[in-house]
Amino acid sequence: MEIVDIVPDVLKNNVMITTIDGLFKWARSNSLWPLTSGLSCCAIEMMCAAAARFDLARFGYEVFRPSPRQADLFIVAGTLTWKMAPPLKRLYEQMPNPKYVIAMGSCANEGGPFADAYSVVPGVDKIIPVDVFIPGCPPRPEALIYGMLQLKEKIRHPEIIQKVKK
């Protein structure tokens, strides 16, 4: 017998039944707290996304935290250099679980126009695991918002990703 069947009829319209896991996923996906950390050009577009016109607050993602201990989303916005890689990794490790990473812009994805430079890391996924890649140089704020909504889908339905992996 399913749980749904033992709920009295009076309550059926007032009570939602879900698992604890599902509830957590739902809560997490709707209030991501990004870390305030911009590396370069993309950071300006990230600020624009949070400012008046694009208004990230519509989706509940506007609580930019300056401390990694309070954040659960790391938007790597910009070029990552080998000199910056250790501090970046430390920031990631300081964030509490569960944590998510968005690689914003071509540089964060695979080095972008600087891929063959002597000082640039060709993609942040060499240093930390990445959940969503957003292409563009720099991506427009709309693209960042779309990326965050994709992350929301991923948090809610992790099984989608597992299917793709097979």
Binding site: S40, C48, S119
Partner: protein, 365 residues
């Protein structure tokens, strides 16, 4: 007398008010700053080396990514240097279009300055307004060349495209609304007593110190020295326009703020004159598909929103530059950080850094 021991505090490379990935090593005596050393390089992308492997045309997009909040001014500076090296004459109309776009970008850049200064001081509302108004300029650029930040609109030999009447309307509307935007900032920030107390009389930089340290741009002018390359080494068509160079008196944070706010209206003045006086003609000169400047060397400067942007280009007669070195104003201006911070409180370091207005893409190159 009781003496306390000094200690070191590392600010950055990830700090909400370092404008990117700048690290400042502070030596503190209690709350007082004894010494501050900027450590940069966390965004060093090796642009100069990359340019050596690319043709003169392919180098252009890299200049966008140097000072990414005023890409037009960097495009302008680079193209101006290459054209001087290759002796290319630019049509009058292209000169006017360049000036209009460079000045619009200067306004956008100063708006970012106002916004980030406000947010660094803790006035988050103060950030929203300049960012909202900056979108208007980005809309114009978007219409013009399809990009919001990295334009590559100013090309070697001229500009990429002509102004359509829709764009002219947009610029005119923006210029008409600009005074009310500035009023809004003045009501919100300039007239705010707390804001004034934070800025006035802190982080003094005398004219002599600024001159000795090679400071350029609004920061130098805030210290009372009248040096603006648009006037003192006129390039392009700047000598056709009437505008004044705002100067500060004391060289404190307040002056550095006010000078930039005043520069916004001066830039608007230039744009208005340039829009009225656009001559007819071509928008690009004839430039060969493969540009091979003659063997030689050149150092050429223009005035960016942060100071003197200089390109030193060495050509060996081939299609690729033998060596390019870029004088980035933010990089040199950061040398003043220690003078600005010494003897003040930790809270003032944030303000001083903000009024230097460094862009780390440019500092680290």
């Amino acid at each position: 007398m009781i003496k306390t021991e000094t200690y070191q505090l590392s600010m950055g490379p990830v700090h909400p008010s370092t404008h990117g990935v700048l690290q400042v090593l502070l030596t503190l005596d209690g709350e007082k700053v004894v010494d501050s050393v900027p450590c940069m390089g966390y965004l060093h992308r090796g642009i100069e080396k990359l340019m050596e492997a690319r043709t003169y045309f392919q180098c252009l997009p890299y200049t966008d990514r140097l000072d990414y909040v005023s890409a037009m001014n960097n495009n302008f500076s680079y193209c101006h240097a290459v054209e001087k090296l290759a002796a290319i004459d630019i049509p009058e109309k292209a000169q006017y279009l360049r000036v209009i776009m460079a000045e619009l970008n200067r306004i956008a850049s100063h708006m970012i300055f106002i916004g980030s200064l406000a947010v660094d001081i803790g006035a988050t509302t103060g950030m929203i307004y300049p960012f909202r108004d900056r979108e208007r300029i980005l809309d114009i650029f978007n219409e013009l060349c399809g990009a919001r930040m990295t334009y590559s609109y100013i090309r070697i030999g001229g500009v990429r495209s002509d102004l359509s009447s829709a764009i002219v309307d947009m610029i005119n509307k923006f210029l008409a609304d600009l005074p009310s935007m500035l009023d809004e900032y003045n009501n919100l920030l300039t007239g705010n007593e707390i804001f004034q107390h934070r800025l006035k009389g802190t982080s003094l930089l005398s004219g002599e110190q600024a001159r000795r340290l090679g400071i350029t741009g609004p920061m130098l002018r805030a210290s009372g020295i009248d040096y603006d390359l648009r006037k003192d080494n006129t390039y392009s068509s700047y000598d056709n326009f009437e505008f004044s160079v705002p100067l500060g008196k004391n060289g404190d944070n307040w002056d550095r703020y006010i000078v930039r706010v005043k520069e916004i209206s001066e830039s608007a003045k230039i744009i208005r004159q340039a829009l009225d006086g656009i001559p007819d003609g071509q928008i690009t000169a004839k430039v060969p598909k493969v540009l091979r400047p003659p063997k030689g060397e050149i150092y050429d400067t223009t005035e960016g929103p942060r100071g003197e942007v200089g390109y030193h280009i060495v050509s060996d007669g081939s299609a690729k530059p033998y060596r390019i070195h870029i004088r980035r104003p933010s990089f040199i201006n950061l040398q003043a950080l220690n003078i600005l911070c010494k003897g003040y409180l930790v809270g003032d370091v944030v303000v001083a850094m903000s009024t230097i207005d460094p862009i780390l893409g440019e500092v680290d190159c």
